[in-house]
Amino acid sequence: MIPRVFIIGLMLVLFVSPAAAQGPIRLGFLTILTGALASPGKEMENGIRLFLEEHKNSLSGRPVELTVLDTGGTPAGTLTKARELVEQRKVHIIIGPLAAFEAYAIAPYVNAQRVPTISPSAAADDLTQRKATQFIVRATSNSSLPTQPFGTYAAKTLGIKRVATIADDFAFGHEVVAGFHKAFEDAGGQVVQKLWPKLGETDQGPYIGQLKKDIDAVFIGFAGVAALRFLKQLENSGLKGKIRVLANQTAVDEALLRSMGDEAIGVVSASHYSAALDTLANRKFASAYRKAYGTDPGYYSVGAYTAALFLKQALEKVGGKIEDTEGLLKALRGAAITDAPGGPIRLDKYGNPVHNIYINRVERKEGRLQNTVTHTIEGVSQFWNYPEAEFLKQPVYSREYPPCRFC
């Protein structure tokens, strides 16, 4: 009698809680916590931690074991840390890394090791275009995705004719400017000058001095603090109000806005997110984030949070069986979330998001600067309104492409 009861009990335990028997989901998170990119790296970490807290550290009934590693901001460091996550910590999935060159460095490795990877920030165009890899999907727009519709919008709706561009001299800056350049000229505008201060340049004055006098607007493509100095120095030079300032997403990211003053007011940007976006999902996310960290969420934190949403949905589709790599990857690539903080988002066949692009204007509300959404362009893909095959035939966006015909 007793053994039978024991066996039945044992069977009950086994059948009722299969999830518990499977053990935790091991989630690896690669970010940058030291060096020049440490502050966005910390925001990325905030995003994932907020998500896990909201879900009580559990997805599809299984506990989540999070390992956060600092890549140090170098490609070799990132590869070493990816190896540690995969070989030492045996993670099932990686969210990260932050920078584009880091993503390129680990792409062949995660592919060979068959570890699904969700990029929450790294924006390099070719990562989901000419060099798309099976095991990497992206939870944030690539560099040129927001600036292509922005180029069209600037020419057609804002009626801007002549633009000078100024951006950080590295791949992200090149791609951001090139996307704007192509769409802007295809819609009838002219890019008449392109300036490239080196990444980390502390004095933007000489570049402001070089700006041509007959431009309607300047387009800035900065990844970080350079935007702070540029806007301040533009105001000091007396040009504010005389020429319009158009900006890419990261130049007026919420993380920077809190260090900016009135010089930023009126800057128009294109972005897949704004902390001021008035939807139910975003009000909930932004207020939870503000409560936890005391600041507005921005590009990096929303990227990590959305990446986690992808993981959650994919896990639900495979019934929590994260060990089923094939199934999980298929579910990830088919992910479609209707109520992400930035609005509806799904992935194209290259693993890149198709989502809304918001045209924002910096305004002061409730005593702080925010990106007020003035216009929404729905369902934008990385190919904008160009035919995909034709788009992929042109060279990847760079400092030289598209060539500057009106310079």
Partner: protein, 324 residues
């Protein structure tokens, strides 16, 4: 006499270390093994810098350039032209030597801080090329998907254990070549130049030519390390050529003990392991690394091996200073 006594110790130590390195792989996790591989490659690089820093007494801040030249040779040749291991290896080392030959002409006009500044500038030139010559180097995204070398051997270097042995073979090769060089009359002349350039000149040595050849050797071996580095990572990017990398190599040599050859190799492995193992436990790992550097400079200015050498010499009743 004391010199040979110490070298007796040194021989035993080297033998034990070599044996340990040879039998270690099966006992290590694959992650530790990749760290060890990384240490071996950095050890080659640090030893090559030791030729000019330790033996000739010229501190260079541009040594990452040779790592980059070797690595970019592999990256470009193997991804664009499908070149095999031997071609890429020869090209990488040759390119590094040629560039060192040009840089040497410029840099060796100066000594001390001026030499440091010139090598720094030249290193930045190579970094700038990697960053800007996008059609060739793909800019700061770097060249990725470099395949591991294929050799007519029964095992695949895509696996971590065979690649470890390849790196070990490269390390031993570089070690013995450099060891032969520093013990030769040529190497002794370099040491002489370090101690007193004017005296060597008075004795009739062609000081500049000796320094120049030393500079070429350092560049060539540095390029060799770069070749292995590119194969190991499977990519190369301008970040490998940054000033920070050059400084790190310099610190590896200083930590282990300059002018000892074995010291820089030890320094390289300590720094690689510290960097990767400590950073797991704390995000403040740079502080710990900094403390190690300061500790070395204050308590063991001759580096770890230098301090050990002094200690063994002090133990025996003889003048402290060996005649090198």
């Amino acid at each position: 006499m004391r010199e040979t006594l110490f070298q007796g110790y040194q021989g035993v130590v080297l033998g034990v270390v070599g044996l340990l390195l040879f039998v270690a792989p099966p006992f290590l996790s694959s992650f530790l093994l990749t760290l060890l591989t990384q240490s071996l490659i950095y050890a080659i690089l640090a030893m090559s810098l030791d030729i000019i820093l330790g033996y000739t007494g010229l501190a260079s801040l541009g040594h990452a350039a040779y790592l980059g030249l070797g690595a970019y040779s592999v990256g470009i040749l193997s991804t664009k032209y499908g070149a095999g291991f031997w071609v890429a290896l020869a090209a990488g080392v040759l390119l590094a030597v040629v560039v060192a030959a040009i840089f040497g002409l410029v840099a060796l006009r100066a000594t001390g801080v001026y030499f440091l500044m010139i090598t720094l500038a030249l290193g930045m030139v190579v970094w700038g090329l990697g960053h800007r010559w996008v059609s060739m180097t793909q800019g700061d995204n770097g060249i990725s998907a470099i395949p591991r070398p294929k050799l007519p051997l029964p095992w695949s270097f895509a696996e971590s254990i065979p690649f470890y042995y390849l790196a070990l073979a490269g390390f031993l090769l570089a070690f013995f070549i450099l060891r032969v060089i520093v013990r030769s009359p040529f190497g002794q002349t370099l040491v002489g130049i370090r101690e007193s350039e004017s005296r060597m000149r008075t004795l009739g040595y062609h000081v500049w030519l000796h320094k120049y050849i030393g500079f070429l050797i350092a560049g060539g071996i540095g390029g060799f390390a770069g070749v292995l580095w590119a194969y190991y990572n499977g990519f190369v990017s301008p970040a490998d050529l940054q000033l920070a990398t050059s400084v790190e190599i310099l610190l590896m040599v200083a930590l282990g003990g300059r002018g000892t050859l074995f010291g820089p190799a030890l320094g390289a492995s300590i720094i690689v392991l510290l960097k990767n193992l400590v950073s797991v436990y704390t995000h403040r790992w740079l502080l710990i690394l900094g403390a190690v550097y300061i500790g070395t400079i204050v308590y063991a200015p001759e580096g770890i091996v230098g301090a050990l050498r002094q200690w063994t010499q002090r133990a025996s009743p003889a003048p402290l200073r060996a005649e090198t």
